[in-house]
């Protein structure tokens, strides 16, 4: 059972073309959805149990309901397509293969929150998706699926693509808004939350690509249909990006609560030949690493949390026994150090310091007390940073030392990474 919802049309040749999309049932939700009262639409999405697919997993219908009803300001919908989380590549495929599904969801979401304008903020490096989505928008305007009085329903929606300028932090929604406004893309102080004061200080809802891609299907088929997959708290399906030491890396849409080992062994074809599973980062680089013995769980929000990690953006990075966990931490912390916006002290300085220590452990071994120093630095960062970037930059270090402390100690004793030496790095 796979590809039930957002990937359900992926097999159709050239479904990114409007005619093909419409010919396969595309945009059919508009007549129904746009004639529903906005509140009704919000209630439907609430009832479906859909949770935000960007990483935080916040219930989508509830988020929509936070938009104030009594404001004279325009409302905005922003699609967060700044997919930058290491190990995550699902939104790219959703946009490349089936852009109209996203637009259809955005039209419905705009109607639900009273927005006449929506922006699709696409990661700047995604040149292909930027062109494909832009082309889809042109087609949709030409055929009356965008603009004034969409399909005679009286609903007006304008959509535009905004290419990002190359920073991971813009996946954080308030930093994205600053960037979209042409400001330096730093995260904003909350409250006020974007639903009350977001883009141009107006009520704004920011949703992930995959979240929005689900909407038309929920409108067409109803909340109960959607809830046939997953669990009570993790309804529907999830596109999981599987990468790393597997035979068939790629995106797989599966029902939530599919066993994680099924994802690895069946969908991704198992760990590469002759090797055995060592660890999995289940939800993108910002979540704790799970050792193999903790991977016998269902892939849903609550099960992964119970195992000590998070579903996050569903970027699953699979590692076999050849993987050096100090190297993993060094690599990931290097990423966060590079992407820290620099606004708050602990993230700006902590990521730099952690990297320097990990780099020394990896290359020349460092000192034994560096390991506890690393943990103390993570403690001084944990929950103290301005935004989640800093708070999550410590995950690979904390879980790495928790489960593989002996590897860190061996690095000290051996004067660096043996594996690296063997591989001639």
């Amino acid at each position: 059972m796979a590809n039930e919802i957002v990937f359900s049309r992926n097999h159709i040749d050239n479904v990114k073309d409007l005619d093909v999309y419409v010919g396969n049932g595309g945009y059919s939700s508009l007549q129904k959805g746009l004639t529903m009262a906005p509140d009704e639409l919000i209630e439907l999405v609430k009832a479906s149990g859909l949770r935000g697919r960007g990483g935080a997993g916040f219930p989508t219908g509830m988020k929509w309901s936070f938009v104030p009803k009594d404001t004279s300001k325009p409302h905005y919908l922003v699609c967060n397509a700044d997919e930058s989380e290491p190990g995550t590549f699902k939104d790219r495929q959703l946009m490349e293969v089936n852009p109209h599904q996203l637009l259809e969801g955005m039209i419905l979401a705009c109607h639900a929150i009273g927005a006449k304008t929506g922006f699709i903020y696409i990661r700047g490096e995604f040149v292909g998706p930027i062109q494909i989505v832009s082309r889809a928008i042109e087609q949709a305007y030409a055929r009356g699926y965008l603009g004034k009085n969409i399909q005679g329903t009286g609903v007006d929606v304008d959509l535009a693509v905004h290419p990002g300028a190359g920073a991971y932090i813009w996946g954080e929604e308030s930093a994205l808004l600053n960037s979209l406004e042409g400001q330096r893309g730093l995260p904003r102080l909350k409250p006020p939350f974007p639903a009350v004061s977001g883009l141009y200080a107006s009520p704004t809802i920011i949703n992930n690509v995959e979240t929005l891609a689900n909407i038309s299907h929920i409108v067409n088929n109803g909340a109960d249909w959607f809830k046939q997959w997953g669990t009570e708290r993790s309804a529907g399906t999830k596109v999981v990006s599987i990468s790393g030491h597997v035979n068939r890396p790629g995106n797989y849409e599966v029902p939530l609560a599919t066993p994680m080992m099924t994802l690895i062994n069946e969908f991704a074809g198992g760990v590469r030949d002759g090797h055995k599973l060592k660890a999995v980062i289940p939800g993108g680089s910002s979540v704790p690493i799970l050792p193999a013995e903790k991977c016998d769980i269902n892939y849903d929000y609550e099960s992964i949390q119970a195992a000590g990690s998070m579903l996050g953006s569903a970027g699953m990075i699979v590692m076999d026994e050849t993987t050096c966990m100090v190297g993993v931490a060094r690599n990931l912390v290097h990423f966060y150090r590079h992407e820290s916006c620099g606004k708050c002290t602990p993230c700006r300085e902590g990521t730099d310091w952690m990297f320097k220590i990990l780099n020394e452990l990896e290359l020349t071994g460092g000192q034994m007390d560096d390991i506890d120093l690393l943990l103390d630095i993570t403690d001084n960062m944990d929950g103290k940073c301005f935004c989640p970037l800093g708070d999550t930059s410590i995950m690979s270090v904390v879980s790495g030392i928790e489960h593989w402390r002996h590897e860190f100690e061996e690095h000290v004793r051996n004067g660096g990474c043996q594996q690296r030496a063997q591989n001639g790095h």
């Binding site: 620099g342 002290t345 001084n380």
Partner: protein, 693 residues
């Protein structure tokens, strides 16, 4: 008040206003929560994370600089968890900090030092090379940047965004490479740049003119008043053991400066340290030679007495002298020397000796003060470019525009800095002031009209509270009476009780007017009658000296000489017996016959009256250079040499005499002037010299 919020901080209960930030509520209880990025005059950003506190029921520590109080909140600022976070944050801030405190101007008054001492780690655990930047960078005329010391609180950038809107510096790069820098193509030459030195909580921004001024613990502070313009900004003179002035610092007074200084004022103290007259001098055989105080006084007195009571003497007294000095000069000039040609300015700006603040009152405006700007929703500036004419007041107007969305109407011959913030720029040909003001008044009365004037009038015809600001340059109009009439029409069109603030040029112009250092008025704004009536204005005095109609000049302070055509000044001074009393000969183009060494404002006690009529005290910061003396003492000596004894042994006694002479000052209690000053009352001198006859 029932709408107070009650909460508990460190076991102490406090009631405070809603929306108070936790860091402020803690401060109200006397609890120190360390901060770097937080500043009460800037919007909070929560970036430095120094102020994290624990709120019961919240899983994470919370920044107290961005979190408002809530009813029933229980807050801990000093438990082990908070203290560890604080220590950790200081450690993060210090890992790349150069720790060059021994050569840092900030050392001794540095919150990074202080908090490290109080809360920080004692040893470093960071074993790697520190970040290095080229340093110091001269990013503007007055500002040096040391990016190694910077802790990224962004107070400087936020000041330039939120307060001055001179966005010449910004943040570049990101993460561990992030730094402050100048916007490409711009240097940091904002005239408010110096404020960032004070805002900077570390030694990252230091003053180029004040670099290596000394160690802060060897510096003493004396409250004083800036002499740069008529705003009367309160300052602190920093000096080394009363020897020389090393730095001027802000001293917040909401009536005048609101806590800021402009660079012209902040760095304009070199005249106190350089080219100073240390001795009295007399001209002998064409050479200026040092003389005893008595020799010089006797010689000056003999010149003065020769020309007393004859109409052949002119007196120019600088508008940056203290009230006490000006009062003494006025006494000697009118009462002893029976001379009526006395003025504080020789510019062409006030040829008719107008008292602009009285003109606007007679026009029907209320006598305004600078703080009226804080209440106004609509601000009208007429004939004044605050950027030049009173920079610190421009910041007050910007605060009204930015924070309260007040609206501005500007009447000026060109687009002014503040014109950027309004569509209502009424730009006119010089000389058209009266007709522009009159047409605006007419348009307001009719509720609108065509063009820019009509649009401005539509705005102003609403009920919103207003403030009008007029500048001294208007005094120079040849048809001044037409302007006065037009101002009257505007006042009646805008409605009752609209305050009008008068912007004067110098730090004691208003005092000079109040004390009769202007032809046609005696102290207290009493119109001069009889023989005093025919006194010449400053420019007339210089012309008469050049033409031989005056035989002697007594110039106290060189400022009036700088306002007139240099050729005229030279010709005038060369053609008369010339007594110069001042602190430097730098701006005196002709050797005087007698030189009397006067102290500057930094070396004496006294008072200045700012543009509003606010009387503020200065205190002696440094010792007089050589044998220089306060002007009123020199004048008292001259009086004695002329056979007239003037009883005053202290600046306070002189001020008591001023109170007797000037009704507007009569209610001022010396003891209440303190360091923040007292507003003088509304005296009512006639607006124009000719008005009484």
């Amino acid at each position: 008040m029932s709408d107070l919020v009650t909460l508990t901080i460190d076991g102490q209960q406090i009631q405070t206003a809603p929306n108070t930030l936790l860091v402020e509520a803690a401060a109200q209880l006397g609890i120190l929560v360390p901060v770097y990025c937080y500043h009460p005059k800037l919007a909070p950003i929560g970036a430095c994370r120094m102020c994290l506190v624990e709120i019961e029921g919240m899983p994470k520590l919370t920044p107290s600089c961005t979190t408002p109080v809530k009813e029933g909140m229980v807050v801990h600022t000093q438990n082990a968890r908070v203290e560890k976070a604080r220590r950790g944050m200081l450690e993060f801030l210090l890992i790349h900090h150069p720790l060059d405190c021994p050569v840092c101007d900030k050392g001794g008054e540095c919150p990074l030092q202080d908090y490290t001492y109080e809360f920080g780690p004692r040893k470093t655990r960071f074993r790697y090379p520190k970040r290095h930047w080229d340093k110091p960078l001269q990013i503007g005329k007055n500002i040096l940047l040391d990016r190694e010391r910077c802790i990224m609180c962004l107070r400087c950038v936020r000041f330039c965004e939120e307060i001055s809107d001179h966005q010449q510096i910004g943040v570049f790069e990101r993460g561990h490479s992030q730094c402050i820098g100048t916007v490409p193509g711009h240097s940091f030459d904002s005239q408010f740049s110096g404020n960032t030195i004070e805002l900077c909580p570390v030694g990252a921004l230091t003053g180029a003119p004040t670099r290596f001024f000394g160690r802060t613990w060897e510096i003493q502070h004396t409250p004083s008043i800036c002499t740069g313009c008529a705003a009367g900004c309160n300052i602190r003179i920093d000096h080394r053991q009363q020897r020389d002035v090393v730095r001027l610092w802000s001293r917040e007074n909401k009536h005048t400066d609101d806590g800021w200084l402009c660079d012209r004022g902040r760095f304009g103290y070199e005249f106190v340290n350089q080219d100073r007259l240390k001795d009295f001098k007399i001209l002998q055989d064409g050479q200026l030679v040092d003389a005893t105080t008595q020799q010089a006084t006797v010689k000056a007195a003999s010149i003065l007495s020769k020309h007393a009571n004859s109409g052949s003497l002119g007196v120019l007294a600088s508008p940056i002298l203290t009230n006490e000095e000006l009062y003494a000069v006025e006494w000697l000039t009118r009462s002893v020397l029976q001379t009526s040609s006395i003025d504080h300015t020789a510019s062409a700006v006030n040829p008719q000796a107008v008292q602009l603040h009285s003109v606007v009152r007679e026009a029907g405006f209320r006598s305004g003060v600078l703080t009226d700007i804080d209440e106004a929703a609509q601000i009208v500036t007429i004939g004044v470019d605050l950027s030049n004419d009173q920079p610190i007041t421009e910041l007050r107007v910007k605060k009204a525009l930015f924070q309260r969305k007040a609206q501005l109407v500007s009447l000026y011959p060109e687009t002014i800095e503040l014109g950027r913030y309004t569509e209502h720029n009424l730009i006119y040909e010089p000389g058209q002031e009266a007709s522009v003001v009159a047409s605006l008044a007419a348009a307001v009365r009719s509720g609108g009209g065509e063009g820019v004037v009509g649009q401005a009038a539509r705005l102003l015809s609403s009920e919103a509270p207003k403030a009008v600001i007029v500048g001294w340059k208007l005094q120079g109009l040849s048809d001044f009476s037409a302007l006065a009439k037009a101002l009257g029409e505007l006042a009646s069109a805008l409605g009752p009780d609209v305050p009008c603030i008068t912007i004067y040029p110098n730090c004691n112009t208003r005092g000079a007017l109040d004390l009769g250092i202007t032809p046609g008025w005696l102290p207290g704004g009493v119109a001069a009658t009889g023989s005093s009536e025919s006194g010449m204005t400053g420019i007339q005095i210089l012309e008469a000296a050049r033409d031989g109609r005056l035989k002697a000049l007594w110039v106290v302070g060189a400022e009036p000489l700088l306002e007139a055509d240099p050729e005229l000044v030279k010709a005038a001074l060369a053609n008369v017996e010339f007594i110069y009393q001042g602190w430097s000969l730098r701006d005196v183009p002709v050797d005087p016959d007698v030189v009397l060494a006067n102290v500057t404002f930094a070396e004496q006690a006294g008072t200045f009256t700012n543009t509003d009529g606010r009387v503020q005290r200065i205190y002696p910061a440094v010792k007089p250079h050589g044998r220089s003396r306060p002007g009123w003492q020199i004048v008292a000596d001259l009086g004695r040499a002329l056979g007239k004894t003037w009883e005053a042994t202290s600046d306070q006694e002189v001020f008591e005499q001023i109170r007797q002479a000037v009704p507007a000052y009569s209610q001022i209690k010396w003891s209440e002037v303190g360091t923040l000053g007292v507003q003088s009352g509304a005296s009512a001198p006639p607006a124009m010299a000719g008005a009484t006859g």
